[in-house]
Protein backbone atom coordinates (compact mmCIF):
# COMPACT_ATOMS: atom_id res chain seq x y z
CA UNK A 1 0.00 0.00 0.00
CA UNK A 2 1.47 3.31 -1.09
CA UNK A 3 0.54 6.23 1.13
CA UNK A 4 0.66 9.61 -0.53
CA UNK A 5 -0.19 12.84 1.28
CA UNK A 6 -0.96 15.99 -0.69
CA UNK A 7 -1.03 19.38 0.97
CA UNK A 8 -2.03 22.83 -0.21
CA UNK A 9 -3.14 25.95 1.63
CA UNK A 10 -6.71 24.81 2.18
CA UNK A 11 -6.60 21.26 0.86
CA UNK A 12 -9.14 22.11 -1.80
CA UNK A 13 -7.34 22.04 -5.13
CA UNK A 14 -5.28 19.03 -4.10
CA UNK A 15 -8.49 17.17 -3.18
CA UNK A 16 -9.36 17.14 -6.83
CA UNK A 17 -5.91 15.96 -7.74
CA UNK A 18 -6.33 13.15 -5.20
CA UNK A 19 -9.34 11.87 -7.11
CA UNK A 20 -7.39 11.89 -10.36
CA UNK A 21 -4.32 10.24 -8.86
CA UNK A 22 -6.44 7.55 -7.21
CA UNK A 23 -8.19 6.83 -10.49
CA UNK A 24 -4.84 6.45 -12.20
CA UNK A 25 -3.43 4.18 -9.45
CA UNK A 26 -6.54 2.00 -9.69
CA UNK A 27 -6.28 1.82 -13.48
CA UNK A 28 -2.76 0.39 -13.27
CA UNK A 29 -3.68 -1.97 -10.43
CA UNK A 30 -1.75 -0.17 -7.69
CA UNK A 31 -3.01 -0.13 -4.14
CA UNK A 32 -2.67 3.42 -2.94
CA UNK A 33 -4.04 5.57 -0.17
CA UNK A 34 -3.96 9.17 -1.30
CA UNK A 35 -5.39 12.04 0.71
CA UNK A 36 -5.23 15.82 0.90
CA UNK A 37 -4.95 18.20 3.83
CA UNK A 38 -4.59 21.95 4.36
CA UNK A 39 -1.20 23.37 5.22
CA UNK A 40 -1.83 23.43 8.97
CA UNK A 41 -2.37 19.68 9.10
CA UNK A 42 0.50 18.72 6.81
CA UNK A 43 3.09 18.41 9.59
CA UNK A 44 0.76 16.43 11.83
CA UNK A 45 -0.13 13.91 9.18
CA UNK A 46 3.14 13.39 7.38
CA UNK A 47 4.34 10.60 9.66
CA UNK A 48 1.46 8.48 8.33
CA UNK A 49 2.61 8.92 4.73
CA UNK A 50 5.34 7.43 2.54
CA UNK A 51 5.68 10.64 0.58
CA UNK A 52 4.34 14.21 0.76
CA UNK A 53 3.59 16.42 -2.24
CA UNK A 54 2.78 20.08 -1.70
CA UNK A 55 0.98 22.61 -3.90
CA UNK A 56 2.83 25.51 -5.55
CA UNK A 57 1.24 28.02 -3.16
CA UNK A 58 3.15 26.25 -0.38
CA UNK A 59 6.55 25.93 -2.02
CA UNK A 60 7.93 28.63 0.29
CA UNK A 61 7.40 26.09 3.10
CA UNK A 62 9.28 23.33 1.30
CA UNK A 63 12.49 23.50 3.33
CA UNK A 64 10.63 23.60 6.62
CA UNK A 65 8.49 20.62 5.65
CA UNK A 66 11.45 18.70 4.27
CA UNK A 67 13.16 19.19 7.64
CA UNK A 68 10.10 17.81 9.39
CA UNK A 69 9.89 14.95 6.88
CA UNK A 70 13.47 13.91 7.61
CA UNK A 71 12.40 12.98 11.14
CA UNK A 72 10.18 10.26 9.72
CA UNK A 73 12.18 9.50 6.58
CA UNK A 74 9.37 10.93 4.44
CA UNK A 75 10.42 12.72 1.25
CA UNK A 76 8.69 16.05 0.56
CA UNK A 77 8.58 17.95 -2.70
CA UNK A 78 6.50 20.50 -4.60
CA UNK A 79 4.08 19.03 -7.15
CA UNK A 80 5.48 19.45 -10.64
CA UNK A 81 4.09 22.78 -11.94
CA UNK A 82 2.95 21.38 -15.26
CA UNK A 83 1.32 18.34 -13.67
CA UNK A 84 -0.46 20.58 -11.16
CA UNK A 85 -1.48 23.24 -13.68
CA UNK A 86 -3.04 20.62 -15.95
CA UNK A 87 -4.56 18.67 -13.03
CA UNK A 88 -2.64 15.67 -14.35
CA UNK A 89 -3.17 12.84 -11.87
CA UNK A 90 -0.99 10.37 -13.74
CA UNK A 91 2.02 12.68 -13.78
CA UNK A 92 1.60 13.63 -10.13
CA UNK A 93 1.28 9.95 -9.16
CA UNK A 94 4.44 9.10 -11.08
CA UNK A 95 6.24 11.94 -9.33
CA UNK A 96 5.19 10.50 -5.97
CA UNK A 97 6.49 7.05 -6.92
CA UNK A 98 9.76 8.59 -8.09
CA UNK A 99 10.22 10.30 -4.74
CA UNK A 100 9.53 7.03 -2.98
CA UNK A 101 12.20 5.48 -5.15
CA UNK A 102 9.74 3.06 -6.72
CA UNK A 103 10.29 3.99 -10.32
Amino acid sequence: MKKILLACSSGMSTSLLVTKMSEHAKSIGDEAEIWAVGQDRAKKEMENADVVLIGPQMSFLKKELQGEGEKYGVPVDVIDTVAYGMADGKKAYEQALNLMGEQ
Binding site: S10, S13, Q57, M58, S59, F60, T81, G85, M86, A87
Partner: protein, 111 residues
Amino acid sequence: MMEKLKLENLTTEQINFQLISHSGNARSKIIQSLREYREGNTAESENLLAKAEEDLQGAHDIHFQMVQKEASGEKTDISLLLMHAEDHLMSTVTMKELVREMLEIFKKRDD
Protein backbone atom coordinates in the same frame (compact mmCIF):
# COMPACT_ATOMS: atom_id res chain seq x y z
CA MET B 1 8.08 29.18 -16.98
CA MET B 2 4.93 27.75 -18.46
CA GLU B 3 4.15 28.53 -22.07
CA LYS B 4 1.12 30.64 -22.86
CA LEU B 5 -1.98 28.49 -22.99
CA LYS B 6 -5.09 29.01 -25.01
CA LEU B 7 -8.35 28.70 -23.14
CA GLU B 8 -9.99 26.56 -25.79
CA ASN B 9 -7.34 23.86 -25.32
CA LEU B 10 -8.12 23.48 -21.64
CA THR B 11 -10.92 21.79 -19.72
CA THR B 12 -12.83 23.88 -17.17
CA GLU B 13 -10.98 22.08 -14.43
CA GLN B 14 -7.60 22.77 -16.01
CA ILE B 15 -8.46 26.46 -16.38
CA ASN B 16 -9.10 26.62 -12.63
CA PHE B 17 -5.91 24.76 -11.89
CA GLN B 18 -3.95 27.09 -14.14
CA LEU B 19 -5.22 30.08 -12.16
CA ILE B 20 -4.37 28.44 -8.84
CA SER B 21 -1.01 27.20 -10.05
CA HIS B 22 0.20 30.56 -11.41
CA SER B 23 -1.15 32.45 -8.37
CA GLY B 24 0.38 29.86 -6.07
CA ASN B 25 3.82 30.14 -7.64
CA ALA B 26 3.58 33.91 -7.29
CA ARG B 27 2.43 33.68 -3.68
CA SER B 28 5.40 31.54 -2.69
CA LYS B 29 7.83 33.91 -4.39
CA ILE B 30 6.26 36.95 -2.69
CA ILE B 31 6.73 35.44 0.76
CA GLN B 32 10.24 34.31 -0.19
CA SER B 33 10.96 37.86 -1.35
CA LEU B 34 10.22 39.26 2.12
CA ARG B 35 12.33 36.55 3.73
CA GLU B 36 15.27 37.36 1.46
CA TYR B 37 14.97 41.01 2.39
CA ARG B 38 15.00 40.03 6.05
CA GLU B 39 18.28 38.20 5.44
CA GLY B 40 19.73 41.31 3.82
CA ASN B 41 19.56 40.00 0.24
CA THR B 42 17.91 43.04 -1.32
CA ALA B 43 18.71 42.16 -4.93
CA GLU B 44 17.32 38.62 -4.59
CA SER B 45 14.27 40.01 -2.84
CA GLU B 46 13.54 42.30 -5.80
CA ASN B 47 14.31 39.55 -8.26
CA LEU B 48 11.74 37.25 -6.62
CA LEU B 49 9.09 39.96 -6.60
CA ALA B 50 9.68 40.56 -10.32
CA LYS B 51 9.36 36.83 -10.96
CA ALA B 52 6.15 36.74 -8.92
CA GLU B 53 4.78 39.44 -11.21
CA GLU B 54 5.55 37.25 -14.22
CA ASP B 55 3.64 34.38 -12.62
CA LEU B 56 0.72 36.69 -11.90
CA GLN B 57 0.81 37.80 -15.53
CA GLY B 58 0.35 34.13 -16.45
CA ALA B 59 -2.76 34.00 -14.28
CA HIS B 60 -4.01 37.31 -15.69
CA ASP B 61 -3.58 36.03 -19.27
CA ILE B 62 -5.93 33.14 -18.52
CA HIS B 63 -8.30 35.35 -16.57
CA PHE B 64 -8.40 37.93 -19.34
CA GLN B 65 -9.36 35.26 -21.86
CA MET B 66 -12.14 34.11 -19.51
CA VAL B 67 -13.54 37.62 -19.18
CA GLN B 68 -13.33 38.11 -22.96
CA LYS B 69 -15.19 34.86 -23.48
CA GLU B 70 -17.97 35.92 -21.16
CA ALA B 71 -18.13 39.37 -22.74
CA SER B 72 -18.63 37.72 -26.11
CA GLY B 73 -21.74 36.02 -24.73
CA GLU B 74 -20.33 32.62 -23.86
CA LYS B 75 -21.19 31.66 -20.28
CA THR B 76 -18.59 30.22 -17.92
CA ASP B 77 -19.69 27.49 -15.53
CA ILE B 78 -19.44 28.80 -12.00
CA SER B 79 -18.10 26.19 -9.59
CA LEU B 80 -16.73 26.29 -6.07
CA LEU B 81 -13.32 25.47 -7.54
CA LEU B 82 -13.50 28.53 -9.81
CA MET B 83 -14.42 30.72 -6.82
CA HIS B 84 -11.48 29.21 -4.97
CA ALA B 85 -9.20 29.98 -7.90
CA GLU B 86 -10.46 33.58 -7.98
CA ASP B 87 -9.76 33.78 -4.26
CA HIS B 88 -6.19 32.67 -4.83
CA LEU B 89 -5.66 35.19 -7.59
CA MET B 90 -7.20 38.10 -5.73
CA SER B 91 -5.38 37.49 -2.45
CA THR B 92 -2.06 37.06 -4.23
CA VAL B 93 -2.49 40.32 -6.17
CA THR B 94 -3.20 42.07 -2.85
CA MET B 95 -0.14 40.50 -1.26
CA LYS B 96 2.04 41.54 -4.15
CA GLU B 97 0.90 45.18 -4.01
CA LEU B 98 1.42 45.33 -0.26
CA VAL B 99 4.80 43.63 -0.28
CA ARG B 100 6.01 45.98 -3.01
CA GLU B 101 5.02 48.95 -0.83
CA MET B 102 6.55 47.38 2.27
CA LEU B 103 9.87 46.78 0.54
CA GLU B 104 9.95 50.45 -0.49
CA ILE B 105 9.38 51.48 3.11
CA PHE B 106 12.09 49.11 4.36
CA LYS B 107 14.56 50.25 1.74
CA LYS B 108 14.04 53.87 2.67
CA ARG B 109 14.41 53.06 6.35
CA ASP B 110 17.49 50.88 5.86
CA ASP B 111 19.34 53.18 3.51
